[in-house]
């Protein structure tokens, strides 16, 4: 359903978006789609070599999930600006221990409209966004600006 400028009030919340638990397969798929082949995201032998415990998700996969969250609410074509700061790393869920690892790999995106204004002849909203895992650890924070009909 299309969101109109007049329907939005400052303080309105963006619909909460919950990702599927991120698995290593999601990381490999994102690596192939984006071209980001940093071994940090898929190669366990590299992880051992640098003294870490687990591969970690691409920050840009988390931002991509946030983009998906936003465009599930506000259509892609209305986006004017999108900014995120990466705050912590995300380890994927382990298939042999989903019960204990899925929460660290589940991304929950929320947001709040903090400003309505006119700019460049457009009616725009500024919405703060936060992504955190199901344990409450913050993954990224940022904002987007959209021009609405």
């Amino acid at each position: 359903m299309a969101v109109n400028y007049d329907d939005i009030e400052v303080g309105n919340k963006m619909p909460v978006y919950t990702s599927a638990p991120i698995t290593r397969t999601h990381l490999v798929r994102y690596a192939g789609a984006s071209g980001d082949f940093n071994p940090l995201h898929h190669d366990e032998t590299f992880i051992k070599m640098i003294g870490s415990k687990n591969v970690i998700a691409h920050g840009m996969l988390i931002m991509g999930i946030v983009g998906e969250a936003i465009t599930s609410w506000i259509e892609n074509k209305y986006l004017r600006r999108f900014n995120t700061r990466f705050l912590s790393m995300t380890e994927p869920a382990d298939l042999d221990d989903m019960e204990n690892t899925k929460d660290r790999a589940t991304i929950i995106v929320s947001g709040e409209v903090v400003k309505k204004y006119e700019e460049n002849g457009e009616k725009r909203i500024l919405c703060d966004i936060i992504a955190q895992d199901a344990l409450g650890s913050k993954k990224l924070s940022g904002f987007f600006i959209a021009a609405l009909p």
Binding site: H26, A33, D36, G59, I65, G67, E68, F82, N83, T84
Partner: protein, 154 residues
């Protein structure tokens, strides 16, 4: 260590065609789906995209970052060029400004330059910061997107 002499450096311009199937692959990846029938039709069906008010099949909001990896020898070569140790690389911040649409079939020229190289913090806790600015210009010469990427070296 990030190399201060790189400040102002411009990477060679890179021109590429926005491939329809790469858009589908990317849209599946960020929505954590298995096949295209599960994603938003605007990312694979031109009619659906036009009906929804797009000029053609659009790209997902974070798709433009792929251009960083598709050129200049990919991530390993790019970090080497910037003087950043890939083992210490952290992506700190990403920002996009959307000025126009990017659609499947567009021929986009990417221009990327280093707009800041700085040191933050003191002693053992200091980090090197490199900021890249990327312009994407379409086949009609229109600036359709500007992005800023902040990379840290731990």
């Amino acid at each position: 260590m990030a190399d201060k002499s790189k400040l102002g450096m411009e990477f060679p311009a890179y021109t590429f065609t926005v491939e329809k199937d790469k858009i589908i692959e990317f849209a599946i990846a960020v929505s954590q789906k298995e096949n295209k029938e599960q994603i938003n039709p605007i990312y694979y069906d031109e009619e659906a995209a036009k009906k929804a008010g797009y000029q053609g099949i659009p790209v997902p909001p974070t798709f433009p970052t792929c251009t960083f990896f598709w050129t200049g020898g990919g991530l390993v070569a790019l970090t080497k060029t910037l003087g950043i140790d890939i083992n210490k690389l952290l992506h700190r911040e990403e920002e996009y400004e959307y000025f126009g649409s990017i659609s499947a079939g567009d021929v986009i020229t990417r221009k990327m330059k280093v707009i800041d190289v700085l040191k933050k913090g003191n002693g053992n806790k200091s980090v090197e910061v490199t900021v890249l600015e990327t312009d994407l210009i379409n086949q009609r010469g229109e600036l359709v997107l500007k992005s800023r990427t902040r990379l840290l070296e731990r």
